[in-house]
Each structure stands twice: as structure tokens, then as C-alpha cells.
């Protein structure tokens, strides 16, 4: 392996900070029972850099609404009805092939937003975390009117759709850097 500075400059996010179960959005604590109020899904994919090479030890954080489209947070007027057993947040680390995996429930739509999962990626070579959003292709009507998706140039939108993998999962690769067609669209909030 080429001794790129990515292997020496860090950031050396501690391995112990990510424990088994941290990538499970359906549990409020590591040993809590998972929420079953929705359709369990698995999100997985790879984090890739220029040239399509894997990003090892990248950290991903996911945040999403519960299956009914609510957030357990005071900024959601429907907080009281939010699923109390669903955390909606998880953290994962990529392996040597750049792979990550999350366990969650299919998120619900809310307001004018199509079902989606917000993802934050931190990795060596990124001076700032980058934010993207995963959409589900089966919600064609909601996707067609989603105001965030509408901000993305049409040619780049396909990069924001996960691909169903026939095993109860969705595949979503994140390309940090590439040509305009290859690169995942990232947002500034």
C-alpha cells in the first residue's frame, strides 16, 4: 500500500468510540430492544475517494425521522407522537474496503419532504465533515416534489438514490470526489 499521508495525518478517530450496535438506529441504547414500528432495513455501501478507491476508517453518522416521519425532538411539533423506542441516529466506521452498514427502519415522509436519511461523513483528507442525503427510489411521487432534491442538478440526482439489494437492504455508495457525474452531491446547511 502506498504510504499516503492519509495513513499518517489522522484524524485517528478512536476505534473504541464505535461499539457494536452504534450503527443500529432502532435502539436508544446499545442493549435496548429495537423499535419495531416500521419496516426494518439495512443501509450499506462504500465510501470512495478520487479514482473510486476506498476510504478506510471513515466515520458516518445517520439521522432520520421515524417510520411515521416524526423526530423525537422539541423542534418537531409532533414530538409527543414520535416513536419513543426509535433513536434515529447511528454511527458506523468503514472497513478496509470502505464498507459501512446501518440498521434502521424505513423513514416516513413529513411536511413536503420525501422519506430520506441524512448522512454525515468524516474521513482523513476531509477538513470538514460532508453532509449528504439518501433517498429511496420507490417513493417516486414524493421524490418528484422534494424541495431538497429539487436543489440538486437533475444530472446529479441519481447519485442520491439508494439501490434496493433484494435482501431487505439498500446500497448507497458515497463518492467523496470525482467528476461531476461520479461525485455524490453534498449539502451545506
Amino acid at each position: 500500500m502506498t504510504p499516503l499521508s492519509s495513513h499518517t495525518v489522522g484524524p485517528f478517530f478512536p476505534e473504541a468510540f464505535i461499539r457494536e450496535g452504534d450503527n443500529d438506529l432502532t435502539r436508544t441504547t446499545t442493549d435496548a430492544p429495537p423499535s419495531r414500528r416500521g419496516t426494518p432495513i439495512r443501509l450499506n455501501g462504500r465510501v470512495l475517494r478520487e479514482g473510486g478507491l476506498p476510504c478506510i476508517n471513515a466515520i458516518l453518522e445517520a439521522w432520520q425521522a421515524d417510520a411515521a416521519g416524526r423526530f423525537h425532538h422539541p423542534a418537531d411539533p409532533e414530538e409527543a407522537q414520535a416513536d419513543p423506542e426509535f433513536l434515529g441516529w447511528g454511527r458506523a466506521r468503514t472497513d478496509a474496503e470502505g464498507r459501512y452498514e446501518f440498521h434502521t427502519l424505513l423513514p416516513g415522509a413529513f411536511l413536503d419532504r420525501a422519506p430520506h436519511v441524512n448522512l454525515l461523513v468524516m474521513a482523513s483528507g476531509l477538513m470538514q465533515p460532508v453532509a449528504t442525503t439518501l433517498f429511496f427510489p420507490e417513493f417516486a411521487a414524493a421524490n418528484a416534489t422534494d424541495p431538497v432534491l429539487a436543489l440538486v442538478p437533475p444530472s446529479r440526482r441519481p447519485r442520491l438514490f439508494a439501490t434496493p439489494d433484494n435482501a431487505g437492504g439498500y446500497r448507497f455508495d458515497i463518492r467523496l470526489r470525482g467528476s461531476a457525474d461520479e461525485e455524490t452531491p453534498f449539502f451545506e446547511d
Binding site: E15, F71, L87
Partner: protein, 237 residues
């Protein structure tokens, strides 16, 4: 969209975000997105975030300096404490603050750090705490050493601490670094100097506390962390 979004999540003022890709830091040229970021107005999914995250991420490892009683780590004992504040200066209780750093020899206890500097069996260099009702956090730790960044033109990272703050909203999620006052390596660090605004860089530097206040046990520093706003602590992952 997002009629329930408060106006307080203003865009960061210019001069705070680091320049990317970053000259002298080669992997930023292969990892930084080449396309412009797409600005989106904050909606319900962005102004919210996980609450009570300390239930998911166990907190309490505040003493990095002596993780096993009677077996202190090698180096200069320091105490770093401060408040996590929102952009209006209000304390943020129940934020999760994660700290990680190199040991006194500038080596991380991490499989990816393969440099030959010694590891300290009594120092892992990582901890996680939850802010109290006043937004306060604090860690005992060792002053980290500097370490070189190999390459065509070698440079050294000054002693620094990495902080992750998980606040009450996705928008206030912060990853940053803290530096020590007066270190001659600070102005030579490509990462520190990537923050364009000098005043913003100053907010990455801890303030030494007078030994007359602290006593003879350790050196004390204060480091407040502001999430977003005009005086935000710069992001530096």
C-alpha cells in the same frame, strides 16, 4: 419548507471554514468534493438531532491521564475545561463531548498510526463526557506531543486535541481541534493555518489559567466551544 425552523442557524460567516483542498495536506486533494456544496435551507431534519445521546454513547471517561488508578501516563498533566455554548452564548447541557489525542510522544494509540514513537501503556488518549446543566465539560489528560507529517516537504502537527461535540441539533454538530497557546509550530501547521481568519484561529487556542488559581498539581486551560454563529469555533476535522 421548514416554517418551524428558527432563524438562528445562520450560515457561518466568511473566514471560519478551512480552505480546502488544503495546501501541504495531499489527501485533501483526493478526498475533498470538487463540486460546490449545495446550500439548503435548514429543515426539520437538520434543526433536530438525537437527544439523550449519552444513553447510546456511554460518558464518563474524563480522566485520560490515569485511566487505571496508580498507573499515571507519562507526560505533562493538564486539565482542559470549558463550556459548550450555542451561538447566542447559552450553555448547552447534555451535549456529548468526545476527545482524542496523541500521547506525550506524539503517537496515537490507533492501529493506523504506525510511527515508531513510543506508545504509553497507561495512555489511550480518548474520552467522552456529557456536559452538565451549565454546559461544562472537563478532562484530565497529558499534553500531547507534536508529530511529523511525512511527504515531500515534511511538516509537524503542533500539539493538539481533537474534539467532537454532539449537540442538540444536526446543525450544531462540531468536529474541531484545540491548540496550545504560544506553540511555535502553530503558525507552521497547514491544518491550523487553513482557517483563514486570524480571529477565528484564536478561538481554536486554549487559554492558560494562572497557576495561582490552579495550584501545583497540573497546568490548567480553559477552552469554550461555540457551536455555530458569528463567533463559532471553527470546524477542523
Amino acid at each position: 419548507m421548514a416554517e418551524d425552523a428558527p432563524a438562528r442557524f445562520d450560515p457561518l460567516p466568511p473566514g471560519i471554514a478551512p480552505i480546502v483542498p488544503t495546501p501541504g495536506y495531499p489527501s485533501t486533494f483526493t478526498h475533498t468534493p470538487s463540486q460546490p456544496l449545495i446550500r439548503r435551507p435548514p429543515g426539520r431534519g437538520e434543526i433536530t438531532g438525537p437527544l439523550a445521546l449519552h444513553r447510546k454513547l456511554p460518558c464518563g471517561e474524563a480522566n485520560l491521564a490515569e485511566p487505571i488508578p496508580g498507573r499515571p501516563a507519562v507526560g505533562q498533566l493538564i486539565h482542559i475545561a470549558g463550556q459548550v455554548l450555542d451561538e447566542d452564548g447559552r450553555p448547552i447541557p447534555d451535549a456529548v463531548v468526545e476527545l482524542w489525542q496523541a500521547n506525550a510522544a506524539g503517537r496515537y494509540a490507533h492501529a493506523s498510526d504506525t510511527r515508531s514513537a513510543p506508545l504509553d501503556p497507561n495512555f489511550i488518549g480518548q474520552g467522552r463526557v456529557r456536559t452538565d446543566a451549565e454546559g461544562r465539560y472537563g478532562f484530565f489528560t497529558m499534553r500531547p506531543g507534536a508529530y511529523p507529517v511525512p511527504g515531500e516537504a515534511v511538516w509537524w502537527r503542533p500539539p493538539h486535541l481533537h474534539f467532537c461535540v454532539l449537540g442538540p441539533a444536526s446543525l450544531s454538530r462540531l468536529v474541531t481541534q484545540m491548540f496550545f497557546p504560544g506553540d511555535p509550530l502553530n503558525p507552521l501547521d497547514h491544518i491550523f493555518m487553513a482557517v483563514p481568519d486570524a480571529a477565528a484561529r484564536e478561538r481554536l487556542i486554549a487559554r492558560p489559567l494562572p497557576p495561582s488559581e490552579i495550584g501545583s498539581g497540573w497546568l490548567g486551560y480553559r477552552h469554550d466551544i461555540l457551536l455555530r454563529g458569528r463567533r463559532a469555533t471553527p470546524v477542523l476535522a
